[in-house]
């Protein structure tokens, strides 16, 4: 059974006013447990509005949202619980840090779940461990940390609630290349360790190529496609036209294709490109170039 499912989900801002705008238009999709899903779309494509439906921050104008098969708007009991089960990390989450120590900030969510002290402590230390937050850091003020560290603390605060689905809106915005890599690797590790479903909203197709198993592409309020990463990159020309960026490597292979050099597969990461080119050459020349790829 799908962990999250939407059925003809439509959301209209300011309905009945002159500013009426359909932000999400008739979206039906299914997300399976344990997946890492990328969500892309230009500014105003409806992707942020869509994800805010997944933990009930917005109520559909029409259509339905199901969590583990239960309609989240069916009864009053579903919603409060859902907010713990679907964790949402907003853009620049470090601006939401407020406690006086890192420990207290991460513990804020679990404390609201009415867990006992030992349980809270376990949630905090386990999460801190996954995210590489040292015990020394736990006792410090979050405001003394670097930008990248603060970002990790803020994400830990949501992860510590042990949500079944973790949604991150642009988790790497404003970070340097190493900071981006660190955060994405930690998210992947969290997904592997806990089996939690992860949705990452991002503008970086390079990052999506590396980390997402399937990608939701939103365009002008509608679902353009929701497919395996390779299948989405196969439509890179259309995606480019939407004002989104495709990785440099994909552009290079699209050009090669135009001049008759065709590979049997979609190529969208440097690692895979290297592998495929070496394969191509050894097949042609009948010699292996690099024994270990």
């Amino acid at each position: 059974m799908a962990i999250l499912r939407t059925e003809n989900l439509t959301y209209i801002y300011g309905e009945g006013t002159p500013f009426q705008k359909t932000a999400v238009d008739n979206v039906t999709l299914e997300i399976q447990k344990g997946e890492i899903i990328g969500v892309i779309g230009h500014t105003g494509s409806g992707k942020s509005t869509l994800i805010q439906h997944f933990n009930g921050l917005l109520k559909p104008t029409s259509g339905k949202v199901f969590f583990n098969g239960v309609d989240i708007w069916a009864g009053k009991k579903v919603l409060p619980d859902l907010r713990f089960k679907v964790g949402l990390v907003f853009q620049y989450p470090e601006y939401q840090i407020f406690e006086e120590t890192v420990y207290k900030d991460i513990a804020y969510g679990p404390s609201n779940m009415k867990l006992d002290k030992d349980e809270i402590k376990r949630c905090v230390t386990e999460t801190a461990d996954i995210l590489g937050i040292t015990s020394d850091m736990l006792n410090r003020s979050p405001f003394e940390l670097s930008g990248g560290q603060k970002r990790r603390v803020a994400i830990a605060g949501v992860m510590a609630m042990r949500p079944e689905v973790l949604i991150l809106d642009e988790p790497t915005a404003g970070l340097d290349p190493r900071g981006r890599y660190t955060i994405l690797e930690l998210i992947k590790k969290y997904n592997k360790t806990t089996g939690c479903t992860v949705l990452i909203v991002s503008h970086s197709m390079e990052d999506m190529a590396e980390y997402a198993q399937r990608i939701i592409v939103m365009n002008q309020s509608g679902l353009f496609c929701f497919d395996k990463t390779a299948d989405v990159f196969a439509r890179s020309e259309e995606i480019s036209q939407m004002g989104l960026d495709v990785p440099q490597i994909t552009k290079v292979f699209n050009e090669l294709k135009k001049s008759g050099i065709v590979f049997d597969d979609e190529i969208y990461t440097v690692r895979y490109a290297k592998e495929k080119i070496l394969e191509y050459i050894s097949r042609r020349d009948g010699t292996g170039l690099c024994s270990k790829i």
Binding site: D176, K251, V252, I277
Partner: protein, 287 residues
């Protein structure tokens, strides 16, 4: 490009807090850097968070002044407090967050803000505001409210506010970090055009390697020093070094580097898609 020096840093050192004001002396952020930027150059500055690049940027229009060493901006020592306004009129800064830089409720009033401060007569002001907005391609939005614009549009308004002052140089500190790909493209195109058509000197601080690859010169900073300073293709051929200090190279450069490690012999100075496509065509075409 002329020989006129726009920014000249000589043994520039800087620490936040100094022994004199009783605060603790923190680590030295800039450790004696020498950079000379000439009129008309388009320079990118790369470095991981904390490498000192933003601190350097703040020295270029006297937001910060050196703890020791000197920095001359359009020939003026930035420590000369009487001439700070001359410096700031000639070196404008654009920051990361568009929302923190817009002050007025109407686009054209925002662009006029600095002109009012420097006492430009009103007909001249009208002319300059219109010109600046046309230059960044935002003229049709002149009577709009900035808060309803996209991030990329807001950054272009910010840039218009600066070019209306007719500066010699613009310093941009990660102007595209908060923008989507379309917004990023518009801002970068605008900056490039200002440099190419109007000869404005541009210093672009960025984390995006593809943006840096489009400039004339790349300066790489690490822990408060300049470790590389050359044309982009030379700088990016140092793949190992850049990765070691937490930076990256354009994907095409990385691919070439990886292939060469496996015995191919491609030009290691490839930084654009076109160069990469051509190089790959040569080796992949049937012999």
């Amino acid at each position: 490009m002329s020989d006129e020096s726009i920014i000249s840093a000589q043994e520039l050192r800087f620490s936040y807090g100094s022994p004199d004001d009783g605060k603790i002396v923190l680590d030295e952020v800039l450790k004696g850097i020498n950079i000379n930027i000439r009129s008309g150059e388009f320079v990118a500055v790369l470095g991981h968070n904390g490498s000192g690049k933003s601190t350097f940027a703040k020295h270029t229009n006297a937001i910060l002044t050196p703890s020791s060493g000197k920095i001359y901006v359009i020939g003026i020592d930035t420590k000369d407090e009487n001439r700070i306004f001359d410096i700031r009129q000639n070196v404008g800064m654009v920051f990361q967050n568009p929302d923190n830089q817009i002050v007025a409720a109407i686009v054209e009033e925002d662009v006029a803000f600095a002109l009012e401060n420097i006492g430009i007569p009103s007909d001249e002001m009208r002319k300059r505001v219109d010109e600046a907005l046309k230059t960044v391609n935002m003229y049709e939005y002149r009577e709009h409210s900035p808060h309803k614009l996209s991030g990329g549009q807001k950054q272009r308004i910010t840039i218009a506010g600066i070019i209306a002052m007719r500066p010699k140089c613009i310093v941009l500190d990660e102007p595209t970090a908060m923008l989507d790909p379309a917004g990023r493209r518009d801002v970068i195109e605008t900056i490039k055009m200002l440099n190419r058509q109007y000869g404005i000197t541009v210093v672009l601080i960025t984390h995006y390697m593809d943006e840096a690859a489009k400039t004339d010169r790349v300066i790489v900073m690490d822990s408060g020093t300049v470790i590389l300073d050359d044309i982009p293709s030379q700088v990016f051929s140092n793949v190992e070094l850049l990765k070691k200090i937490g930076l990256n190279v354009p994907q095409v450069t990385e691919l070439v580097y990886e292939l060469n490690k496996c015995g191919l012999n491609l030009d290691s100075h490839i930084i654009t898609e076109e160069e990469c496509v051509n190089a790959l065509k040569t080796i992949l075409k049937e012999e």
